[in-house]
Structure formats: structure tokens, C-alpha cells
Amino acid sequence: MTETAQERDPSREAADRAHDSGFLSDVQVYEPHRVGLPKLRPYFIELWRRREFAAELSRAEMRSANTRTFFGQVWLVLNPLLLAMVYFILVFILAGGARGPAFFAHLTAGLFAFYFISGSITAGAKSVVSSGSLIANLAFPRLLMPMAAVRTSFFRFLPPLAVYFVIHLATGQPWSWNMLLSVYFIGCMLLVAIGLAAVFATLQVYFRDTTSFLPYFLRIWLYLSPIIWYVSDVPNRLAPFVKFNPLYSVIGGFSDLLVRGEIPPLSIWIAAAAWGVAFVVVGALFFLSREREFAVRL
């Protein structure tokens, strides 16, 4: 009995001290986890406190990528632009020449947005596996790694976005204040990107060939999204199905606003936000339920 009294005393003191200092991580207790998820509140407080780490990781990555190739920045713009040309030629031929400059603007806007999401997924998938030593030696919220990858992809999306405005001007698309509302859909894209980056980062830890499957998965997803076609092109019997594609609302709403200055129907706004939230919640929880195993799996 005396032993327990002795034990209790110091630990209470320490807890008091932790409370006084206001330093959350002063006393940590590590216990086995059965249910898989860490305590969410302290996790996200820690995540927020160390957000600067994700930002720095992404900045360092971008710096090293730019020093490697002389045309680093130029390539960021050139790559999606060349792809847009390839798809334009393809669709132009398939449509028997019935595609004009307006379609080219629609195509580039959608393609640039899609490449932001697919770039996040590809970089996110590699984010955890490629930083094995950091994970083996430091305890920190691992979700910061895929988030850093999404941040990098987001900053790589900005130069193409600027180029889009040149295309918008060159193809004579209408200018309106509504275009500003497309920021809402960029926000939804961010959520989708974070969620999927987290999912694929986790999968990559368990199956190292995930990144080999990714290009095919992403290519199919691109063809299923309203990027190389208009929503109005969809035949009636397929129309009910295309709506189940998250990018139908997320990228569809984005290009409605940015390219045509049209305000999409309310259902598109709601669907885009719902998909974004669903992806980020499911993706983050899946990642969190697995992240404590990463240290032994890498």
C-alpha cells in the first residue's frame, strides 16, 4: 500500500507541472492500442503545432526539384500544356473537327485541376515510404507527410493556373466576377487531394507496387471526368452514373465558373463539398489507424 502511495505522489506532481507549464506534451503515456485510432484531439493539436514542418518539407522539396532541372519551373507549365494539346488533337479528330477554342479552354482548365489532384496522389503515395529514416527516428504526426506532398502539388498548380488565364484571353472566353467563386471548388479539390494522398501513402507502405498501378487508375479517372468531354455530351443512359464520380462536381463546378462564368446548380456545390469532406475524413482516419505501424513496416 505504501508503495502505491509513493508512486501516485510523483506522477500527480508531474501532471500538475504539465498543467502549469501549459505544455501539452509534458507527460506522455504510451499504451497498446486495440482500436487503432490515436486520441484525435491531442493528435490534431500536435499536427497544428507542427504545421511549419510540413510547409518546410514541401519548400525544401520544391527547392531541390528546381535546382535539379534548369527548366523546372517552365516544365511545370509545359507538361500540362503539351498534354492539353495531345488531348485536344485526339478529341478534335474523334469529334470530326467539331471542337473549337472554347473546348480548348475547357480542356486546359480541367486538365490543370486534374493534374493538381493526381500530382497530390502520386507525391502523397511516395511521401511516407521515401522518408523512412525520419519516421524511424522521430515521433510526430505522420499525416504531415502526405499533407506536405499536397502542399507541393498545390504550389505547382499555381503556374499552370496563371497560364490558363492567358488561354482564357486568347480563346476569347467571357470574363466575369463569377470566376472568383471557383476558389470554392479549389478548396474542395484540396480536401479530395489530402484524403487521397493519405490513403495512397498508407497503401504504399503495405504494397510497394501501388505506385505502379496509380498511372492506370488515374488515366481512367481522367477519362471518366468532365475534362475531355462536356457534361452535355454524356448520352442519356450513362447520365445517372457520371454523377457518382467525385470529380463530376468538383472539377465540373470549377470549370463552369472559371471557363464559362456560369454559376453551377446548388446540387453541384453541395456535392463537391460533401465529396471533399468525405475524402478528407475517411482518408485521414484510415491513415491514422495505420500510422503507428509505419515505423516497423518501412
Binding site: 510523483p10 503515456v29 507496387d209
Partner: protein, 272 residues
């Protein structure tokens, strides 16, 4: 030794009123790890077809309990694969225990096993900044420390070159400098003294003694038994995941070296 005199002789015995820095209670760690060098989806299907199991269980720690009080500098000795690194990774919160409980009072420094924890493409400075931020320091704190670290690790111009251009000695100097400059409450050093030249080792030992004045506790994993004797006032010996002995460094090391020479058959648990 003289700088440790305040805490060295008496801390081995349990004193009432001493605060625990780390409490390890019946901790076991069992890894489930894969056979394959690189686990792939393809292999998972092949294995499933053959009805094989993917994972192998490794019992890295078996029912280990001990308490480290404030002011203790704990040496951890044992053969390769005894569970030393697993133990400090578990205390550091990197690996969750499979059973048992660990209580840590204070902020723990980065565990840097011989220069790991670094991204080889980035410069030394960038790595220091990243490590510090991941460890929970603010940008301002990290930037202040980056210069101290550069000076302590004697890297000079190499600090701004990618880590891939470093020699292994330079990497471990940097790793050591990082972990001692993060103002940890609890310092953990894995094999750091085996790194660097003689001059740096001396400097590292001096720095660790200095840190013991301010840190709440220190863990030193080392095969260099001499430095454990010199720097630690308490030691534990692990063998195949079991805690074999806990006590004064002299005694633990004596038992451990005896065990190494005599072999396992002549040395059983009953002798304690």
C-alpha cells in the same frame, strides 16, 4: 565523474520524493513484420494463392519494467538485436508497446541512430531545420540552433551542401549535434559515441555531462562500455528482449562482460 557527483552515488537506490522521468511497466513489443524485402500487391496475391502467411512475429521486448528517476543517466547495454533500439524507440513514442504501459515526463529529443533521420538530397542545414520542426520547435528556435549545431558539429561549409556528400563521420557528428541541441528534457543517444574522431568524442562526452545538469534524464545506448561507465550512473542490460539486470553501471557491465565470455549456458536468470 566529478560533474556527476551530485547525482551519481545515491540515485541507484529508491529515494522517496524523487520524481520519475520515465516509467516502463511490463512492456512487451512484438513486431509483425513481412518476409519480403519490398512488400508488393503482386506478392500478396501469390502468397494468398499458396496459403502462406505474410507476417512473421518478432518479440523485440518481453515484459520489461523499470523506472528512471530524474537526474539519472541510464546506460543500455546488450548484444546486437537485444532490443536496445526498440526500447528507446518505444519510450520515444515511435513504436507503440504491444502490452504494458510507458509514462514519460518531459519532452524527448530526437532519436538519431548514427545519422539516420536525414534526407540525403537536402543540405545539412535544411535537415537540421526539418528535424527541429518535426520535433516540435518553432521556426525561430530552430534557426537559432542551426548555427550552434553547425559550430558544434564542425562541419563548416559542408553545412550547406547535401548530406549525400558527407562522410559517415560527418553524418554522425551532425546527428549527435542535432539531438543535443534540441533542449530535450530527456535525452536519448543511440550509439553516438562510436562516431567521429577522438577529439569529437571527447567533446561529445563533455557536452553530455553538461546536459546532464539540465536534462531530467538521459539514455545512452552504446557498445562502448567504457563510455557507459563514465557517463552513466545507472545501467540496464538487455538480452533477447528480456531485462537481465538493472543496477550500477560497474556491476551491470561486469555481469554483461562475464556473460559474453562464458556464454548463455553457464549463465541463467536464477543467478539474480
Amino acid at each position: 565523474m566529478s560533474s556527476l557527483s551530485a547525482s551519481s552515488p545515491a540515485s541507484g537506490t529508491v529515494r522517496t520524493g524523487t520524481r520519475p522521468a520515465v516509467k516502463v511497466e511490463n512492456v512487451s513489443v512484438t513486431y509483425r513484420t513481412t518476409f519480403e524485402r519490398t512488400p508488393t500487391f503482386k506478392q500478396a496475391i501469390v502468397r494468398f494463392g499458396r496459403g502462406e502467411r505474410a507476417v512473421r512475429e518478432v518479440e523485440a521486448l518481453k515484459n520489461v519494467s523499470f523506472t528512471v528517476e530524474e537526474g539519472t543517466s541510464l546506460g543500455i547495454v546488450g548484444a546486437n538485436g537485444a532490443g536496445k533500439s526498440t526500447l528507446i524507440r518505444t519510450i520515444g513514442g515511435i513504436l507503440p508497446p504491444t502490452s504494458g504501459r510507458i509514462e514519460v515526463h518531459g519532452r524527448i529529443s530526437a532519436l538519431l541512430a548514427l545519422g539516420l533521420g536525414f534526407n540525403p538530397q537536402l543540405s545539412g542545414r535544411e535537415n537540421v531545420i526539418l528535424g527541429g520542426l518535426a520535433n516540435g520547435l518553432t521556426r525561430k528556435q530552430v534557426l537559432e540552433r542551426a548555427d550552434e549545431i553547425a559550430e558544434f558539429s564542425e562541419l563548416g561549409d559542408f553545412m550547406d551542401l547535401p548530406i549525400r556528400t558527407y562522410s559517415s563521420g560527418m553524418r554522425s557528428k551532425l546527428a549527435f549535434a542535432v539531438s543535443v541541441h534540441m533542449d530535450p528534457d530527456i535525452l536519448m543517444i543511440d550509439e553516438a559515441l562510436s562516431a567521429g574522431d577522438a577529439k569529437f568524442r571527447q567533446k561529445a562526452a563533455a557536452k553530455m555531462k553538461e546536459l546532464m545538469e539540465s536534462a531530467r534524464a538521459m539514455f545512452l545506448v552504446s557498445h562502448a562500455l567504457g563510455s557507459v561507465k563514465e557517463l552513466c550512473n545507472r545501467a540496464i542490460w538487455l538480452d533477447k528482449g528480456r531485462l537481465m539486470m538493472e543496477g550500477e553501471p560497474e556491476k551491470v557491465i561486469a555481469a554483461y562482460t562475464k556473460f559474453l565470455e562464458v556464454g548463455e549456458d553457464a549463465f541463467t536468470m536464477e543467478e539474480f
